[in-house]
Amino acid sequence: MVAPSNNNIDRLLDALDAKGEGRMRFAELGFPTTRDEDWRFTNIAPIAELEFSSPQVDCAATLEECLFKSLEGPCLVFVNGHFSDGLSSVGTLPEGIEVSNVVNADSPEPKMTNDAFDALNAASFTDGAFIRIADEVTFETPIRIYYLSTGSNGSTANIRNHIIVGTNSKATILESWTGTDSAYFNNVITELTAGDNAQVEHVKFQNESVAAFHIAGLHATIGRDSHAAHHSIALGGRIARNNIRAHLDGTGLEAVLNGLYLPKGEQLIDHHMVVNHNQPHCDSHEYFNGILDDSARAVFHGRIYVKKGADKTDAKQTNKNLLLSDNATVDTKPQLEIYADDVKCTHGATIGQMNPEQIFYLRARGLSEEEARRMLMHAFAGEIIERIACDPVREELDRLIWNRLED
């Protein structure tokens, strides 16, 4: 894989007209391989072998098939990584709330990391969402961001989002990722900053084409006494990888990472998390449930890092997997790295089939085996869905997941 991908690196950088330090960095790092510890379970060779092309503007795209259409409030739409003025509707916003595309906003470029996909993003991003909630502003209406992909095989969009929620402020942000049936590639970076005593709910609904590739970094910096929740509902993608990095930078905060993945066919869905407890008295909770069918694969990697002095840390991590087929595989790797003395850290992972006692009990009340299995699957997915606080979003996702499990 090394030699051909080197050729491909140049072709990729040229196709996307990549620039600056990011270009040099990506050329130096190249695509990660399974020899990299962070990519041990996820072989991205199918991405490296794509016939890359730059993402085209598409004015014919519509939001017709999208979720959350009935919601009111500002909405940003990106088609193939380009801002769609026609489909977006921001309206008049209360004072202190900015919702726009990132290219037209006053947003500093993210810091360079050692991650190849971050470098590629820095070198070639087209656009993305910019949301800024000033201090002391409560905005209850969910701010929606739609990402539509209509490109052909190899169409590669680099998207950069920047979300800032100020001190004592509150916001709900909703991302929806959908696309037409082709092997396009979205490489995303989202920077999220929650100020002191902020309340942020960030819901990501990833329903890309099952032929597509989706690599997304979420870099969250969370402030003192805040409450930040990220919900990752992952359905699509041939390879979908979420790199979630949470920096708990203030005391007394609570961070929740809550995820549900439902791969089937040949899909691979990977959540790779690092939660950095940098300050004392912080709670972090990771809950990830997966239901896998056919030859699908899933990866859960959750590292909790507790810095020296971050006493009274309470970190909890659970990953539960339900396998519906003998060919489905899960790699789960909870990891604790603790340098403080007085901490409470727990982790647990389960992989299994459906509980036959529960199925029999339901059948002994008149439900068919099929109905019993569906009810149990729904319950398993429901554990995650019910943590979404925003009522209309939770209800719509619940319906959608129910339908998906009935297929």
Binding site: Y361, L362, R363, A364, R365, G366, L367, S368, A379
Partner: protein
């Protein structure tokens, strides 16, 4: 209504039921008593269709149908019901939603229209009074975090909703204090009709103070070794199971 003839069954090659014979007619209440390990719970599970038990001989006919040939859910839809000794907790499945699905599965089977949420709630409120159950319990997941008494009462609520013609109660008295026992027994008694029957499986006589059986059978080592009227239960209470075992030994 229920005809069990020479029923033999076991698990993992070990025979537990060694030829059970039992005949139950509409309107009757039967009790099966027996020491631990006599096969009481095996009989209950075999009748309900638990697949892990192998049936190695005999027949079970229920309203003229071969019960063994029916899937567990088909037995329930045909009016058979087992109240579990250990009701299963199902986290994430809402009780009320589950109960409506169960009621509608049975209704659909009989060609009746499904109940909508409003009509179901009406029905449930009516039945729940029978059992002195807190309605808030139904907002919780099925049996999850229920106390022992709540679980047993929830089983009888299910029975009340599904209106079986043949109900088997497996050790429904175990783990109940005397007040809860009275509530459960009262609920069961009120569900008794001319056209249905009940089979009470129990280790102790005390439940039979409140649910008075027409017939009492003693199960021992996989066979019914003695049958009689309700007095037999009192005799057992007085003399213990050893009395039966001794009587069985060849002189």
């Amino acid at each position: 209504m229920l005809e069990i003839k020479n029923l033999k069954s076991g698990i993992g090659g070990e025979e537990i039921l060694k030829g059970v014979n039992l005949s139950i007619q509409p309107g009757e209440v039967h009790a099966i008593m027996g020491p631990n390990g006599s096969g009481k719970s095996t009989l209950a599970h075999v009748l309900a269709g638990r697949e892990s038990y192998e049936i190695t001989g005999g027949t079970v006919s229920y309203n003229g149908k071969d019960l063994v040939e029916l899937a567990p859910e088909e037995r329930v839809r045909e009016g058979f019901f087992l109240a579990f000794q250990y009701p299963v907790e199902i986290p994430g499945v809402n009780s009320s939603y589950f109960l409506r699905a169960a009621v509608n599965a049975v209704r659909t089977h009989h060609g009746k229209e499904e109940l909508n949420a409003v009509d179901f709630l009406k029905l449930m409120r009516e039945k729940i009074q029978l059992l002195d159950l807190d309605e808030s319990l139904l907002k919780r997941s099925v049996n999850e975090g229920f106390s022992g008494g709540e679980k047993k009462r929830a089983e009888i609520l299910q029975m009340a909703l599904l209106e079986p013609t043949m109900a088997v109660l497996d050790e429904t008295d175990s783990g109940l204090d005397i007040d809860a026992l009275k509530v459960v027994a009262n609920g069961v008694n009120r569900l008794k009709r001319e056209d249905n029957a009940q089979l009470i499986i129990t280790h102790y006589q005390r439940l039979l103070d409140y649910i008075v059986p027409d017939f009492v059978h003693v199960l021992h080592d996989g066979r019914i070794v003695k049958s009689g009227k309700k007095d037999l239960a009192l005799e057992l209470e007085e003399k213990g199971y050893d009395w039966i075992t001794k009587e069985l030994q060849p002189a």
